[in-house]
Symmetry: C2
Subunit: 419 residues, 2 copies
DNA sequence: GCTATTTGTTCAGTGGTTGAATTAAATGGC
DNA sequence: GCCATTTAATTCAACCACTGAACAAATAGC
């Protein structure tokens, strides 16, 4: 049966569990694999040893385990100047375990497979209005995509080690979707609905564990995956609602209870228009999709998210005055809200994702202007604003990447289950 | 010579160092000591073993080390029902290592000593306007307080294991005070200025290490120390500027570069009055000390922070209309800014600290009202707003507590240096 | 071809946990 | 009052994983 977990928040060292004897090896597996994963070029055993302070003997033993577990392969001997026996480089295996990423959104389903090296090895998107469907029917369609993803993975010699499902809503620690307003879901027990499906309980012992998580969080992780260079940033997903994913030092920040990131209801002007949440002047009333469409004269069009952004981009590209004004106003409001976040959390990069990625050429300037004005440390080091590297597939890729990431940070889980 | 470190941000597991052979014991020392520190009542060795999954044999060995290192003592056998040999309880030693907390602020100096159990064993505050003094002169006065604190600690059988200095400004990772506007400090190398002083380099091998940190951060830690029940909260320090300390799961959140918490420049109304930072409508222009004083008709009084809050409280208590209105307006603005933070970070407790603690009876209602209106999850679980448990001494206590906390989370540092 | 050099492996040694057996100290039934 | 029972803590041989040094492998330079 598929087991379910939920990505844990960053916990302090004091709450960490006890260290058993075997934990030593577990931890060193993670340390060595982490070095191999983050190194610029395939490192040798000796280089890892001198970097980490471990003995070459220990590193060799650990690497043997990693190779036996299909997590690492030896690369071609890298040309090196000077004397000495040539090193054998180590890199992540491209044909070992892989992660399955799934997404249910308002107007599409998506599935993708990401291997250990971060390559997207399979990707499929299915456009359809999911709102009329029951959760069970929507998930049944998703399972079809998951089945094809599994087949594609098998054909490429990959073993799916876990799956993560992105949902646009609040998800609790057990994978229960508390509320996904734009899908019309409420208290949907996704793991229970997906429990029996063969596409998700397959070849690996125990089958791929399923994680359910918020779409904005996973989109931020997808961005981290696509551009591993920036380890800390704020990822803003502009869809019908506005979500934020906060990535710090390569890890997703989840807040105290895991429901962080409600950027859409950060106040922009306390005397502003009333929001559907009941308050006044939330960011969503200025920069939410409906607000932008209304300001551009497209009210009531009820377009799916992706189409709406493209439509606005087309109009703006054609020089439509009302659209340009609407985007500038939205960008300014977004900049005000985001500069509050940046002042508070001391970030230096803001990524415009979701529908905002498409609209970035018009949103970026006003957002950047507000940040330059309002961020206290902007004088020291300016805040970068850029469009997301991935499109709408970002959340699925981020979900698959989180599975892979989990293997890399805790390889013992994968190695242990191989027996 | 006094060595200097800076409290580290929470880092992900992947960046953790390699695990050497001895690390096993190091980690288990921390695990066992952590259990003893956080337990409600003195736990027995057997209880720790079954809680952590370690063997009773291992726990006994670890506890022996902790007792030998004066970190733990055996408590009186606790009365227990049923048969069996009575357990010997374990609790933190009250006469082992202790932390020294220091603070330089605009109108006072403070020093305090906190023992392992969290008890404040010594406290001294010296009121004086520090602004006319050079950094060197101010620190020279502080050293006098530190010397008396050391004497008091010695008399009580405590060994100072480290010191933390709170400064109202931006501090970098080396203890360099980049900018403390209200003190008039800029690029002050505090560790260098304090290096030679005997009060800070004393009986312990290597002397107490000195950490320099931001006052708002440490005040939040002080609050955590005083009320360990709430592990996640936002601590707002209202002084001349407005700082925020974010505590998550018992750990201080520092942001990407360690300069988080600039709540004072979170926008409240983008079209509001111009702030001294150059932007418009920052929280500081509504709820900063000067703004409240001006609105209450006390502009230009140039009162020290502590006095100003007390003066306003007196006037409000006497029913002064202008003051009551000023406080309500400030509270509303504060509530708007804080609800943005709470939406973003999903916190459930807000603590009013610094000068706001004195004014809490008048600030709390409007802040709570805004939070109830604006926080999305408020319907599920309401956000608590309360005054800080500690007064102005909070930062010094928090600093001393951070020294103690460091010993508890990494006891090997203390045990190692005893040789 | 020989030496210097660097990589990777082998192997005895050691630190620290493991698990079972043992001792210690109390309760409760008879 | 004595003994079986129960729980706490210690002791000790076994074992796991890291350590450090010696050794084998592979290359460049002379």
């Amino acid at each position: 049966m598929a087991t379910v977990w939920h990505c844990q928040a960053v916990t302090s060292a004091s709450t960490a569990g006890a260290v058993r004897q075997g934990s030593l090896r577990e931890l060193n597996l993670a340390v060595v694999l982490g070095r191999i994963a983050t190194a610029d070029r395939p490192p040798s055993r000796a280089a890892i040893a001198s970097d980490t302070g471990l003995t070459r003997a220990t590193v060799s033993a650990v690497v043997d385990d990693l190779i036996a577990g299909r997590l690492v392969v030896e690369a071609e001997p890298e040309p090196r100047a000077g004397a000495g026996r040539p090193a054998r480089g180590l890199r992540l295996a491209g044909d070992g375990p892989a992660g399955l990423g799934l997404e249910v959104n308002v107007d599409y389903l998506a599935a993708c497979v990401v291997d250990l090296t971060g390559q997207v090895r399979h990707h499929e998107m299915h456009r359809a209005d999911l709102r009329p469907l029951s959760p069970g029917d929507a998930l049944a369609r998703l399972v079809e995509l998951a089945g094809r993803a599994r087949t594609a993975a098998d054909r490429q010699g990959l073993t799916l080690a876990g799956a993560t499902l992105a949902v646009p809503g609040l998800v609790d620690a057990h994978g229960l979707v508390r509320l996904a307003p734009n899908l019309g879901w409420r208290e949907v027990d996704v793991p229970a609905l997906l429990a029996g499906h063969p596409a998700l309980t397959g070849t690996v012992a125990d089958g791929p564990a399923l994680t359910v998580d918020n779409e904005a969080n996973l989109a931020a992780l997808g961005e981290l995956h696509a551009t591993p260079g920036t380890a800390s940033f704020l990822h803003v997903s502009g869809e019908i609602g506005i979500g934020a994913g906060i990535v710090l030092d390569g890890a997703l920040f989840r807040g105290a209870r895991g429901w962080s990131g409600e950027l859409g209801h950060v106040p922009v002007d306390p005397a502003g228009p009333r929001c559907r949440c009941g308050a006044r002047g939330c960011l969503e009333t200025y920069a939410g999709q409906e607000a932008i469409l209304a300001a551009a004269g497209l009210a009531g069009a009820d377009l799916p998210a992706d189409t709406a952004a493209r439509r606005l981009a087309d109009l703006a590209g054609a020089g439509d005055r009302a659209t340009l004004d609407a985007l500038r106003a939205a960008g300014t409001a977004l900049g005000v809200a985001v500069s509050g976040v940046v002042n508070l959390l001391d970030l230096d990069t803001v990524v415009l994702g979701g529908g905002y990625a498409t609209l970035a050429p018009w949103l970026r300037p006003p957002v950047a202007a507000e940040l330059a004005d309002r961020v206290l440390t902007a004088a020291w080091s300016p805040v970068t604003v850029r469009a997301a590297a991935l499109g709408p597939e970002s959340a699925a890729v981020g979900g698959a990447g989180s599975v892979v990431r989990r293997i890399i940070t805790r390889p013992s889980g994968w190695l242990g289950r191989r027996e």
